[in-house]
Amino acid sequence: MATQAHSLSYAGCNFLRQRLVLSTLSGRPVKIRKIRARDDNPGLRDFEASFIRLLDKITNGSRIEINQTGTTLYYQPGLLYGGSLEHDCSVLRGIGYYLEGLLCLAPFMKHPLKIVLRGVTNDQVDPSVDVLKATALPLLKQFGIDGESFELKILRRGMPPGGGGEVIFSCPVKKALKPIQLTDPGKIKRIRGMAYSVRVSPQMANRIVDSARGVLNKFIPDIYIYTDHMKGISSGKSPGFGLSLVAETTNGTFLSAELASNPQGQGAAVLPEDLGRNCARLLLEEIYRGGCVDSTNQSLALLLMTLGQQDVSKVLLGPLSPYTIEFLRHLKSFFQIMFKIETKSCGEELKGGDKVLMTCVGIGFSNLSKTLK
């Protein structure tokens, strides 16, 4: 990790998070130029700066250089250190934005990571903490990352624009990852959900549950949608409500969908009935796409496959998201790993859209930071 490899150079603000995370894991310095150079408000945004500060906190010996306008960033990664930390995330993005990065890095720390993140738990842009808890954690467990301390807990809920949410994430460290063979997603066995409401009538959550069940009850009887109404200091600073749904298959695949109400003062008011119905339809769409990994976690699965032992890993995915496609290109430039990509059409079996079978051999990444006991 500390070895000096030649740096990679990129231009533009897209996929900044991917580049920084992969740079940290591979130990290759990265230089990013022209970050919003032609924008009226050039340079890094607050939420990106906050992410860089978070990287600085969890690593030891990182060198970060940003020019005066913030349009050029040089990042030389240090060692992943971990430990007990706190971080105030920007309210412009959800905690999910930061948590997605941490999920990639946390298994490779020197000390187990235990971090308190404050900010927006649920927004309309990033995967919510509820969804990551329900989908990403089981995925990490497939790779052998497990233990008593492995948890993600919502202490307070915060909605944009005010935020005020708080979550605690702790993850054990692993020396090496298990290769995975996920080629059969199985059939949908149950659907769980979480309808939350903060600083609005608690009845909102019930109305969401009713309309969502109205759509889903036609397909499967085993549905349970929890209602979560947080009060007082646990409810953050802004009102809002939303729903996240997770479908579990017989083979332990979790497929998710979510929707949140418009932030206070932005856009038209959303009826909870519409939100519930639309969210249920989004879940059906996600089930149609299918695959063994939820579309929000495709890139996480591919990263952990790449970093696995020198063994063949296979995973069946639904249609690749644009984010995942760019992530594959980055994996190639940082780790020289190219996946074997086979399209599998499921026309005859009526199992939804076309699937992609991704196969790779892990680079045999081992956690050098972890102290041997």
């Binding site: 690749l320 496609i325 290109r329 190219m338 996946f339 074997k340 399209t343």
Partner: protein, 131 residues
């Protein structure tokens, strides 16, 4: 009746006689139609060999020649047609066996073009060179 027919050789007279005979017989025998018909048939059978004698024979021979020629032509045509049909049928029946390897190659290429090459789309043309 047999004598008259031998003289003329013309169909009309014979027919007239026959018809007369038939009428006579029918009048005589009255009731049973079957018998009269049978008798007529017998007479005709008797007359026919006599008819085919002098000039009629030549004519008939000519006719036969002509007809045989036509038949030959027709036959040839028929044969020709049949041969054509045969060749078409056989080629149709065995067409799928022709150029199997070439067809397999074409089908493979078609399949290749129909399904998007995701690897190429993601990693660009560089991978093709590597492969």
């Amino acid at each position: 009746a047999a004598l008259t027919t031998s003289d003329s050789g013309h169909c009309t007279a014979e027919e007239a006689f026959a018809s007369e005979d038939a009428s006579e017989e029918s009048s005589l025998l009255s009731s049973e139609e079957e018998d009269s018909e049978n008798g007529g048939d017998i007479r005709e059978e008797l007359t026919k060999p006599l008819q085919v004698s002098s000039g009629q024979k030549l004519k008939s021979e000519n006719l036969i020649d002509e007809t045989s020629d036509i038949e030959d032509l027709l036959k040839e045509e028929d044969d020709y047609k049949e041969e054509n049909n045969y060749s078409i049928e056989t080629s149709g029946a065995l067409k799928w066996k022709e150029d199997l390897s070439r067809k397999a190659a074409e089908a493979f290429l078609r399949q290749q073009q129909a399904t998007p090459n995701l690897r190429k789309l993601i990693y660009g043309a560089v991978t093709q060179d590597n492969e």
